[in-house]
Subunit: 252 residues, 2 copies
Amino acid sequence: MTAAPDPTTTLQFSLRCDHCTVRHKALCGALSRDELADLNRIARTRRFVAGESIMSAGEDSGFLANIVGGVVKLTKIMADGRQQIVGLQFAPDFLGRAFRKNAAYHAEAATDVELCLFPRTPFESLLRAKPDMEQRLLEETLDELDSAREWMLLLGRKTAQEKVASFLCMIARRSPQAGCHHESAPVEPHYMLPLSRTDIADYLGLTIETVSRQISKLKSQGIIRLHGIREFSVRDLAELTEIANIDADEQA
Amino acid sequence: MTAAPDPTTTLQFSLRCDHCTVRHKALCGALSRDELADLNRIARTRRFVAGESIMSAGEDSGFLANIVGGVVKLTKIMADGRQQIVGLQFAPDFLGRAFRKNAAYHAEAATDVELCLFPRTPFESLLRAKPDMEQRLLEETLDELDSAREWMLLLGRKTAQEKVASFLCMIARRSPQAGCHHESAPVEPHYMLPLSRTDIADYLGLTIETVSRQISKLKSQGIIRLHGIREFSVRDLAELTEIANIDADEQA
DNA sequence: CGTTATGTTGATAGCCGTCAACATACGTGG
DNA sequence: CCACGTATGTTGACGGCTATCAACATAACG
């Protein structure tokens, strides 16, 4: 970790955070420059390769984090091995269970991941001291709760076809390319799948075989196209959305 | 609504809140006596009978609330009528989506319910002004998120038998009688089911027929006893927990 | 006491899980 | 560059779990 210049000497000091790609959207966006310098002093970045475990259920990893890049999956595992992904988090989401040491789930890098790590204790003190930041965390947590409930509807009531279509819609909607509908670009945007078939199955409460079959079916129906195994494009997003049985108001 | 005495005249004024049964556990427990008087001035209580709608998805009810008594179910409904309960809330839980007008789900009284209602705007201002209270809301929201993820595992990966057993365990654990294991009381504690069979099915992602069959099966196996239709007792809670396939650490 | 709502039980069907074979992609060492 | 082994993904056959449809039982209610 490189030490930042003493913030008391000048207001024009530079921080690693200045180059952070998620700086203005993440929790730390609520901080003043001086506060950011304080946070900078306790934070450090770390990379995880795809598949690497970030935190384990029931044990305190000792830190909380911002996701700078990549996708993190949160999983629960039953004694006999059945597994369910209970959350997918993208940059610049916050990672970790504030105010409780033992998370009830595992966190694992779904892709290569870069995190900005904060030791738990000083970060929780900072949260308590900065209501703006705590409020950002509250709003992010409320959004995650809404997403979780959306997924409960999917897990409890949707068919395999609807589940897979819903997943592809979610990926298309959350991808960076989304929204870039150049009139001049007649090509369909390509989306990356951040998960393996096994992970998709664990996210949707299905088996890999069923996931594979439903993807093939959508492909043969001409709704989607596959480009390699981790990339796809959508012919008609409205039609895919319809197959997914997603209400208008649940897209939020 | 009865007006409280002017708090400036004395510190010994009385409030309706003094008699509130959830006062010390709810969000408002974070407030000083004067602040409580402020809240008291904008709050009012209201009763809902079982089945009555409290808030509808996509529209702003204009208020947030504490649950003083009863059970509230949060539901999502698909266009074709399929329904999923995405949350069950008991006193003294907080009800409503702070900082967003349009909740993505309906709230309905599962039993007769008493709420302490707060108009949205002044309550959100109060939240912003009182970090202690906001922090309580954050912690409650984090707990709800944990519960939602717990339920995602159930919906995605558990069998019908495990789902029903898990539900009964949850009721037993959250019931007021829970924990009162008098050595001198040889009778099994009786628990009330706060939901109809239809609601249980919608909570577990099953049909009412399957719920009914699984309950009958547990009864015939001697794991549970039914007393009427809305009351049950458990012969061996450990055995029921085992059937539910609940990990030790997920009971939190 | 009749009527309706709610819950139970049975028969059947269909969706999705399981098991198995095969295909493709990926990595490693010759 | 190719051969090989492993990991990952696809496709097919079959079976079981749970949904569906239906009849009946019980409870709730006027």
